[in-house]
C-alpha cells in the first residue's frame, strides 16, 4: 500500500494523498457490513428461537389427536387441519410434480438453445413471483364458482399450480448438470431417447430433482392466501375432496386473529409444526445438494 506510485490511474492516485481517510473509510465500511449482518441476524434468530420456545411449550398430544373445541372450552387440537393439509398437499403434488418435472425435461433435453425453452424458463420465473392470492382468485372463478361450493380439490389445484414453476426450474438446472457422456453412453447402447431421458438422465439427476420437489412442497405447505377462498377451512373432520377442508396455515391465521388465549396457544403450536416440516425439508435439501451426488458423476 505504501508504494503506490506511477502505475495508478488518476482517481486512485489523487486519493493516495489522504491515505488516512481511506483507511478510516475502509474500517467504517467493514463495520457497517458487519453491523448490518448482526442487526439482521439477531432479530431473525430471535424470531426463530421465540417460535421454537413458544411452540414447544404449547404443543401437546391433544394437538395431534383432537379437532378444535368450541370457543371457551380448553383443549382441542388441529388434527383435522394436519390431515387436511396432508390431503391438500397430496393433490397439489399429484398435479404439480409430474407436470413440473416434465416441463423441466423439455427445457433441458429437448429445448436447449431454443427460443421456446428460454421463454418457458422466463415465464416460470415470472410466475414464481405472482402473488399467491391471485392464484386463489383464479382458481375460485375457475373451480369454486362452477362447483358452487368451496372444496379441497380447488385448494389442491391452486397449490399444485404454484408448485409447477419451481419444480420446472430446479429440474431443468439439475438435468443440465448431468454430463453429456452419460446420455451418449445410453444412446450408444441403443436405448431409445425417451427411455434414456427417463431412466438414465433423470435417474442420475434424481437427488437434485427430489430436492427441487421438496423445496416446492415446503413452499406451498405454508401457503395461506390461495386457500382462503378455495379450501376455505373446516372445523370438523373431513376427507372428502369435494367439501371444504381444514388446513394448518388457515387455522393458524384464524386463531391468531381471534381474541382467545387458548386459540393463540394452538396457533403457536401449529406454527411450530409447520416450521419443523419446512426446516426438515430444507435441511434435507441442503444435505442432498451438499453431498455432491452430481459433482461426483462429472
Amino acid at each position: 500500500m505504501a508504494s503506490t506510485t506511477t502505475a495508478m490511474p488518476p482517481p486512485l492516485r489523487a486519493r493516495a494523498s489522504n491515505r488516512f481517510l481511506r483507511v478510516v473509510v475502509n474500517h467504517l465500511a467493514t463495520a457497517a457490513a458487519v453491523g448490518s449482518t448482526i442487526l439482521v441476524m439477531a432479530p431473525l434468530i430471535a424470531i426463530f428461537m421465540y417460535l421454537l420456545f413458544k411452540g414447544a411449550s404449547s404443543l401437546n398430544l391433544a394437538f395431534f389427536t383432537q379437532v378444535p373445541k368450541p370457543v371457551g372450552e380448553v383443549g382441542g387440537g388441529m388434527a383435522n387441519s394436519i390431515l387436511g393439509s396432508g390431503i391438500l398437499l397430496a393433490i397439489a403434488s399429484l398435479m404439480g410434480v409430474p407436470i413440473g418435472i416434465a416441463g423441466g425435461i423439455y427445457i433441458a433435453e429437448y429445448g436447449r438453445n431454443k427460443r421456446l425453452a428460454n421463454m418457458v424458463r422466463f415465464t416460470a420465473d415470472v410466475l414464481n413471483g405472482v402473488p399467491s392470492i391471485v392464484m386463489g382468485i383464479a382458481i375460485y372463478t375457475l373451480i369454486v364458482v362452477p362447483q358452487k361450493h368451496f372444496s379441497a380439490l380447488a385448494g389442491g389445484v391452486a397449490l399444485g399450480i404454484m408448485m409447477i414453476p419451481t419444480i420446472t426450474r430446479t429440474t431443468e438446472e439439475m438435468l443440465l448438470m448431468v454430463p453429456l457422456n452419460v446420455r451418449e453412453a445410453a444412446l450408444g447402447l441403443g436405448v431409445p431417447n425417451w427411455r434414456s431421458v427417463l431412466s438414465i438422465t433423470l435417474r442420475t439427476a434424481s437427488p437434485g430433482v427430489i430436492t427441487g420437489c421438496m423445496l416446492a412442497f415446503a413452499r406451498v405447505a405454508g401457503e395461506t392466501a390461495p386457500l382462503l377462498f378455495t379450501a376455505f377451512g373446516n372445523q370438523f373432520w373431513s376427507t372428502s375432496v369435494n367439501q371444504p377442508i381444514a388446513a394448518l396455515p388457515l387455522q393458524i391465521f384464524v386463531y391468531a386473529l381471534s381474541p382467545y388465549d387458548e386459540w393463540h396457544r394452538l396457533a403457536w403450536a401449529g406454527a411450530l409444526v409447520l416450521i419443523v416440516l419446512i426446516v426438515v425439508s430444507v435441511a434435507l435439501v441442503r444435505y442432498v445438494a451438499g453431498r455432491g451426488v452430481l459433482k461426483g458423476a462429472s
Binding site: 457490513a33 405472482v130 391471485v134 419446512i278
Partner: protein, 340 residues
C-alpha cells in the same frame, strides 16, 4: 470420432432427420438413430405440452381475472384506480386506498431492507470466514422458507407490542411534528406492515445480491487490490460497480414479493381503507383487502371489484418480476459459479 460411432452401433437403426441441434457428432448420430420410434415422438410431445402448460397457466389466470372483473371494468373504467370510496353497501368502489397502502408499505420495506441486505451480502461474499458463511447462508435460506402466516403470528404477538411500547412513542415525540409519525399509537398500521415486510424480503434480496456479487470474476477484485485499493474501495469499484444492475434486479424482485405479500400484512396493517398522512395509522393493502373481504363479498359488483384489484396486482407483479429477471440474468448469465 467416426470409429467411436461404429463401436457404439445402436440396434434400432431406422433413421429420421435430426430433430435436435447436435452438440457432438456422436450424439447427433445416435440421436438420429434413436428418435425414430413412435414412443420417442410421443414422449417429446408430452414433455412439450407440460412445458407449455406454464404459458397456459398465465393465460388462464389472466382470462379468469378479466372475465371475473368485467362488471367493474365496464362500470368504473379507469376511475376505479383513482377513486378512494370503498362502499360495498352502495356499490361504489375505488381502489386508491389499497394501491396507496400496497405501494407505501412496500417502499417502506425496501427503504429498511435494501441497505441492510446489501450490507449482509457484502459481509457474506467479501469478509465472512468460511465456517460462518455456510451457517448464515443456510439460515437465510431457512428464513426465506418460513410461511408468511407464521411471520404474521410473530408480528402480532411480539413485534407490534415491542414497537408500540418502545419505538413508536419515541418516534412520535421526536418526529411527530412532521405529521408523518403522528396520531394515536395503535401499533397496527402502515409502519408495522413495512417493518414485517422488510424482515420478509431481506433474505430474498440479500441472497440474490450475494449470488450476483459472487458472479463478479475474481480477477476484477485482484486487479483493483493490486492498484493499492483498500478492501472497501475494492468492493465499491471492483464488485458493486460490476454487480449494480444485478443488485437493482434483486431489489426489484424483493419489491415484487413485497407488493404481493398477503398474510403477514393483513395481520398487522390495521385494515382501514383510508389514505392518512401518518404512517402509524392503520391502512389497507391490495392483497389484504382481497384476503379479508373476498369470501364475504355478497353481490356480483363487490366480487368483481375485488377481482379487479387482483388483476391489477397480477399485472403489476408480472411486470416487476419480468424486469427483475432480465436485470439479474444480465449479470449472472455465463458467469462461473463460485463455490460458497
Amino acid at each position: 470420432m467416426a470409429g467411436q460411432a461404429d463401436v457404439t452401433q445402436p440396434t434400432d437403426s431406422s433413421a429420421s432427420p435430426g430433430a435436435e441441434q447436435s452438440l457432438s457428432p456422436v450424439r447427433a448420430y445416435l440421436l438420429n438413430c434413436g428418435s425414430s420410434s413412435l414412443a420417442d415422438r410421443a414422449f417429446s410431445a408430452l414433455m412439450l405440452v407440460c412445458a407449455l402448460s406454464i404459458f397456459a397457466i398465465v393465460i388462464l389466470i389472466l382470462v379468469e381475472l378479466i372475465s371475473g372483473s368485467k362488471l367493474t371494468i365496464q362500470k368504473f373504467g379507469m376511475s376505479f384506480f383513482f377513486g378512494s370510496a370503498w362502499d360495498p353497501v352502495n356499490g361504489n368502489f375505488g381502489a386508491l386506498p389499497f394501491i396507496y397502502g400496497t405501494v407505501v408499505s412496500s417502499i417502506l420495506a425496501l427503504i429498511i431492507a435494501v441497505p441492510l441486505a446489501v450490507g449482509v451480502a457484502i459481509f457474506l461474499t467479501e469478509m465472512c470466514p468460511d465456517w460462518l458463511r455456510g451457517f448464515l447462508a443456510f439460515f437465510t435460506e431457512l428464513l426465506a422458507a418460513i410461511p408468511s402466516v407464521v411471520y404474521g403470528l410473530w408480528a402480532i404477538f411480539v413485534m407490534v407490542p415491542l414497537l408500540r411500547q418502545f419505538f413508536y412513542p419515541y418516534l412520535i415525540k421526536s418526529l411527530g411534528w412532521t405529521g408523518i409519525f403522528g396520531g394515536p399509537n395503535y401499533g397496527f398500521g402502515m409502519f408495522s406492515a413495512g417493518v414485517i415486510l422488510s424482515i420478509m424480503v431481506l433474505p430474498i434480496i440479500s441472497s440474490l445480491t450475494r449470488e450476483v456479487m459472487s458472479a463478479v470474476p475474481h480477477a476484477q477484485r485482484e486487479a483493483v487490490l493490486a492498484l493499492g485499493a483498500t478492501r472497501w474501495e475494492m468492493i465499491r469499484m471492483g464488485v458493486l460497480r460490476n454487480a449494480r444492475i444485478g443488485i437493482v434486479g434483486a431489489v426489484i424482485l424483493g419489491l415484487g414479493r413485497a407488493l404481493g405479500e398477503t398474510m403477514a400484512v393483513t395481520m398487522v396493517i390495521g385494515n382501514r381503507p383510508e389514505i392518512v398522512r401518518s404512517l402509524l395509522a392503520p391502512a389497507y393493502s391490495m392483497a389484504s383487502v382481497i384476503a379479508n373481504e373476498f369470501s364475504e363479498a355478497s353481490d356480483e359488483l363487490y366480487l368483481s371489484a375485488l377481482i379487479e384489484i387482483g388483476l391489477a396486482l397480477f399485472i403489476v407483479t408480472i411486470i416487476v418480476n419480468a424486469l427483475a429477471r432480465v436485470l439479474v440474468w444480465a449479470v449472472t448469465r455465463g458467469a462461473p459459479v463460485r463455490g460458497t
